[in-house]
């Protein structure tokens, strides 16, 4: 087994008296699609917030490529190669799809305080935007306002923006939440395509998606990771059955 690309070591997070994450240990291997499942309130979103820098852990280490990123700001974590999407669609609603992606791509090229160049003439940036549009299958919608996209299109855009920084590790927080069956299948295919050659950590409630998409699954219950393994191993794990899967696995 190669060295983990993302590794959580004895991570603990509490808000006052509430201990949300307790001694979580998780290793994500380069190139795998790793799903985190668990009942509501288990701390999945908190775990994501810790990895992406929105929260700092109370205790423990979070290693990205062997370097501790615990306590770094989201922007710094992003620059080190970890990008995330959000559970709630988090895009720029009042501008076009193209503009949404351009804002995301410009960061990668360190175009922030640049006021002497025309954005329309940034050839590399615009090519990458077109490329992303193709990948997320929104080329036809490039000039549409993001707020006018359908729900699943907005989720695709969200994923496209996550991809823009060309991250090694992608965190997707419930990308299929609120989707119909067709939309879920469509998005699962999209995720499979775009995570080719990258590492994916995904939180998702739809078990059929999780078990078909993920190489490995970790189960989070009350802030603790009680099991990690392949879908078969997880299906067969007694503790998981008891704690979470219950009827579904039977």
């Amino acid at each position: 087994m190669s060295d983990p690309i993302l590794s959580l070591q004895h991570v603990h997070k509490s808000f006052g008296e509430a201990h949300i994450i307790r001694d979580a240990n998780l290793d994500v291997i380069p190139g795998e699609r790793h799903a985190v499942i668990g009942p509501n309130g288990a701390g999945k979103s908190t775990l994501f917030h810790l990895c992406s820098g929105q929260f700092a852990p109370s205790e423990g280490k979070i290693l990205l490529n062997g370097k501790n990123i615990a306590g770094l700001k989201p922007a710094e974590v992003n620059r080190r190669g970890l990008a995330r999407s959000f559970q709630i669609t988090n895009i720029f609603p009042g501008v076009t799809v193209f503009e949404n992606l351009r804002l995301a791509v410009m960061r990668k090229h360190n175009l922030q305080f640049v006021f002497w160049r025309s954005a329309a003439r940034l050839r590399v940036v615009n090519e990458e935007v077109d490329d992303l549009l193709t990948k997320i299958r929104l080329t036809d919608r490039a000039q549409t306002l993001a707020s006018q996209l359908s729900y699943s299109e907005q989720r695709s855009l969200e994923i496209g923006m996550t991809l823009a920084s060309d991250p090694q590790v992608i965190l997707l927080d419930e990308p299929m939440a609120g989707m119909s069956h067709e939309e879920t299948d469509y998005t699962a295919g999209l995720i499979r395509e775009i995570t080719e050659g990258r590492t994916l950590l995904i939180v998702e409630h739809d078990m059929s998606v999780v078990f078909s998409l993920a190489h490995r699954i970790s189960v989070l219950v009350y802030g603790e990771i009680i099991a990690t393994g392949t879908p078969e191993e997880i299906r067969g794990n007694a503790r998981v059955k008891e704690a979470y899967l219950g009827e579904e696995a039977a």
């Binding site: 922007a75 988090n90 895009i91 720029f92 501008v95 922030q112 006021f115 160049r117 025309s118 329309a120």
Partner: protein
């Protein structure tokens, strides 16, 4: 919008020819309109594009005005800073004060941001009378425009062209700015600063920088103002200047590029015309703002752009006739309302009240007729016209709605 370049060219041509087309008083108003337009554009960058509503933009307009006056006195319009380049001083001062104020105010967003900008501007306004060497106390600081580059700068025409060149140049620069990566990021800041932060941008630095650029252009507008009147007084720091730029920009349409400029120019023109005709012109300005916000929330230009982008589908002739019908009905209602307001204002004025003796109410002259205030006639006339106008516009609206329904 394929006619946009042509329209722009015609507008610029008219602006260049203006001194030969209008009277001196009107040209003077035009100078103020240009300054108001540029000031509103500076505000529009911050509020419309970056989504930060500043209630204290008078501060940057004001420091620009004072900086230019001091520079005028110091350099005498020669050497390093000849008269035509003086607005640069206003811009530089605006930029520096904008960096400072922006650093603190952009640490917060929304209402808190607005409150900080308001507090900073009020702080400066309260401080100004005490700093006599800088702000000149009650009398202010005055100066003279000196000739430079073979131009006298004594005549109104010279001042007009100076203001025109700077205003057009700055609006052009603001347009180009909106196309740069930083200008695009302003939109991101407005739409979703949280997402921008997660993409790895430094939103505080971005906000500060955009604030400073906005303050810089406000400072240039302030410099043009003090060069126009050859003086600056701490009155330019008053909150009503900050309020006016907010109202003007929203009336024009803060989210469309030239909206604030048109709003600033139109409302300044409106003020110029009506302040000679009536004492309650500020009331009219307020009513216009409320009506625009209620019925044309995108602003005048914003609504126009929207109509052009998404035509009603009824064809040009139909749309035009509907528009004319609406305008005609509204004009009737407006005349009725103006009549009532003016009549009421005259009845309530202290001069008139002093003339009322023993229940004898003299007639009031309004629109070249004498009206008896105790008679029902003037009130019925005003209310009636207002009612007829509103009824007509309602009728037009119903017809449009019925046609739409029939289509659907």
């Amino acid at each position: 919008m394929k006619y946009a370049p042509l329209l722009l060219l015609v507008t610029v041509a008219v602006l260049i020819a203006l001194p030969w087309l209008v009277s001196g008083s009107m040209l003077n108003a035009a100078v103020q309109m240009l300054i108001a337009a540029l000031f509103a554009m500076a505000f529009g960058l911050l509020c419309g594009q970056a989504g930060m509503l500043s209630f204290g933009h008078a501060a940057y307009f004001g420091v620009g005005a004072f900086a230019a006056v001091h520079a005028m006195n110091a350099f005498g319009g020669e050497g390093l800073l000849p008269t035509p380049l003086l607005p640069l001083v206003g811009g530089a001062t605006g930029l520096v004060s904008g960096l400072l104020a922006g650093y603190f105010s952009t640490k917060r967003t929304g209402v808190y941001f607005a409150m900080i900008t308001l507090a900073l501007a009020e702080l400066l306004h309260a401080l100004a009378p005490h700093l006599k060497t800088v702000f000149g106390g009650e009398a202010g600081v005055s100066s003279f425009r000196m000739p430079a580059w073979g131009i006298g700068f004594g005549s109104l025409n010279d001042v007009y062209f100076l203001t025109l060149v700077w205003t057009l140049l700055c609006i052009g620069l603001l347009y180009l700015f909106s196309k740069t990566p930083l200008g695009r990021l302003a939109l991101g800041l407005r739409e979703n600063a949280h997402r921008l932060r997660f993409l790895g941008y430094n939103t505080h630095a971005l906000g500060t920088l955009i604030f400073a650029v906005s303050a810089m252009f406000a400072g240039i507008a302030g410099a043009l103002q003090s060069m126009n009147i050859e003086a600056a007084n701490y009155v330019v720091l008053e909150s009503h200047i900050s309020t006016a730029v907010v109202l003007n920009s929203f009336i024009g349409g803060v989210r469309v590029f030239l909206g604030p400029a048109i709003g600033g120019a139109v409302m300044t023109f409106f003020g110029h015309v009506t302040s000679d005709l009536t004492r309650v012109w500020l009331l009219y300005q307020g009513i216009i703002f409320v009506l625009v916000m209620m019925f044309l929330p995108r602003g005048l230009v914003g609504e126009l752009v929207e109509r052009i982008r998404n035509p009603s589908g009824e064809g040009f002739a139909r749309t035009l006739s509907t528009l004319l019908a609406r305008l005609a009905s509204l004009a009737i209602a407006a005349f009725g309302a103006v009549f009532l307001i003016e009549f009421l204002q005259r009845v309530l004025s202290p001069e008139y009240r002093a003339g009322v003796t023993d229940g004898n109410w003299p007639d009031i002259a309004l629109f070249s007729y004498d009206w008896a205030p105790l008679s029902v006639l003037p009130w019925a006339f005003g209310l009636g016209l207002f009612g007829i106008g509103i009824a007509l516009v309602t009728m037009v609206n119903r017809r449009v709605a019925a046609r739409k329904e029939a289509q659907a």
